[in-house]
């Protein structure tokens, strides 16, 4: 009998019976895996996050992230002590996430995969990337009225920026205890961009607006500035942009600076090709794996199954919708005062989620007019949205941290 008891205690069954809520988390992990693998919802991040949730919720594996508090004082331990006492997942979390290392590394990779060409060709459209940040701040205000602290509300609102690494970075700095649900909400809604943008666009746009043809508008009102040397411009631009942002919002430099560095090594070309390959493949992929697993491992039943989580899921959705709507209404406002009309779908792409939101907007425009290819125009607002959300995060961090 003692042997049988020993075998029972060796397995996770006993601990699961003591904490049945962990079964809910395991089911949630399996559902997220289904979304990532079966439905292809952002599989590159959702699969590692879901697997992290799965690993963290089997008792005895020592893979769940334990928040640092006064009693355990994890933050004051060395990395070796954390690994020895709390397991390797906690070591990875405190080394890579708590220090805020991984989101900037991912931004470097994103920068290496970003082309500023469309933005430089249509610079004026960059303003709509600013308008589409409204969801962040409106939801921040609403969350405060619901009882969230300012820091928590800011971390929740940043989901409206539709930028996973930015949301995670802000949550790490301002509300690390909400990191799991915020990451899940941010990446889930990014995966739902093909549903959210058409939903908001159909609610707010007329058929006439869907049919605004950007190329015809360009022929009627040609751009005044022409680029003669795009290659040189694309090399100089990230350097100048880095200087501007570093001077005005230094707290956003870890994100924007790394994004621009990644972009610079791409644009230089063959001379820095090895750095480009490392940033866009090796480092980006490695960082994505560890980010996903460790963020997933923060979602144990004790930290995730709270009323706040539901509010984060709802608040994140509202922030997303408001950001899309903000961009659309900014274009509508522009069209009221300008002769040259812009398709409001360009504004809808002002939230980040590059390049999916641009692709979705392009497909929507093509439904109404098969010759209306707005992808290049949408990318301008889309890329400026990445910068806009990183700057918004910088403002929140500098005021609240």
């Amino acid at each position: 009998m003692e042997v049988l008891n020993g075998i029972y205690e060796m397995t996770a069954f006993g601990a699961i019976a003591d904490d049945p809520w962990s079964i809910v988390m395991i089911v949630l992990a399996l559902f997220l895996l289904y979304l990532g693998i079966g439905k292809k919802f952002e599989p590159l991040l959702l699969v590692p996050i879901a697997f992290g949730v799965l690993l963290a919720n089997f008792p005895g594996g020592n893979m769940g992230v334990i928040p640092s508090d006064e009693t355990n004082g994890i933050m004051h331990l060395t990395i070796i002590e954390i690994a020895k006492d709390y397991g390797i997942m906690n070591m990875l979390y405190y080394l890579l996430i708590k220090t805020g290392l991984l989101p900037p590394l991912i931004f470097m990779g994103v920068g290496a995969l970003t082309d500023f060409g469309p933005m430089l060709r249509n610079l004026k459209l960059a303003y709509f990337g600013a308008a589409a940040q409204i969801g962040i701040f409106v939801v921040l205000t609403a969350a405060v009225t619901l009882g969230f602290t300012l820091k928590e509300a800011a971390a929740l609102g940043i989901i409206g920026g539709a930028d996973g690494p930015t949301a995670i970075y802000t949550a790490i700095v301002l509300a690390p205890h909400l990191l799991g649900p915020i990451a899940i909400a941010a990446y889930s809604y990014m995966a739902l961009v093909p549903v959210i943008i058409p939903f908001i666009a159909n609610l707010t746009m007329s058929e006439k607006e869907f049919r605004i043809n950007m190329r015809e508008q360009d022929k009627l009102y040609p751009p005044t500035v022409h680029i003669k040397n795009l290659k040189l411009l694309k090399i100089v631009f990230p350097i100048v942009l880095c200087v501007i942002v570093s001077l005005l919002v230094p707290s956003s430099v870890p994100l924007v600076g790394m994004l621009l560095f990644g972009n610079l090594v791409k644009e230089i070309g063959t001379d820095t090709n090895r750095l480009f390959t490392a940033a866009s493949e090796t480092i980006l992929n490695t960082a994505t794996i560890f980010l996903g697993l460790t963020v997933g491992a923060t979602m144990t039943s004790a930290t995730f199954l709270q009323s706040q989580t539901l509010m984060i899921i709802v608040g994140g959705f509202l922030a997303f919708c408001l950001s899309v709507g903000g961009g659309i209404f900014a274009v509508k406002l522009h069209n009221l005062i300008s002769k040259k009309k812009i398709n409001p779908l360009i504004g809808a792409t002002g939230l980040s989620a590059v390049p999916m939101s641009s692709r979705v907007a392009n497909e929507l425009a093509l439904k109404y007019d098969s010759s209306n290819h707005i992808l290049q125009y949408a990318m301008s607002s889309n890329i400026s949205g990445v910068i806009g959300s990183a700057v918004a995060a910088g403002v929140l961090i500098s005021f609240l941290s």
Binding site: Y127, G129, F399
Partner: protein, 85 residues
Amino acid sequence: MESNLSNALLLLLIGMSTVFVILFIIVMGGNFLIRLVNKVDLDVHEVPFTKIKTEILSPSSEAAIHAVVNVLTQGKGKVENIEKI
């Protein structure tokens, strides 16, 4: 609660203004850069893409060979002739 709300509204104002100002500077700075770069007459060391008279390759395969040589030699190499061995 009220002070939190007023702080949140202040953040809304400051945050949105900052994002607009930064993107305004980026647009203005970008336009300035375009004009500046347009004026610069660069001595671009690009390897000329010489058309090779050959009947053994399709134009796309020839372009692929040029691109590979360009990457491997870091822009210094030049394809002069392609022969079937």
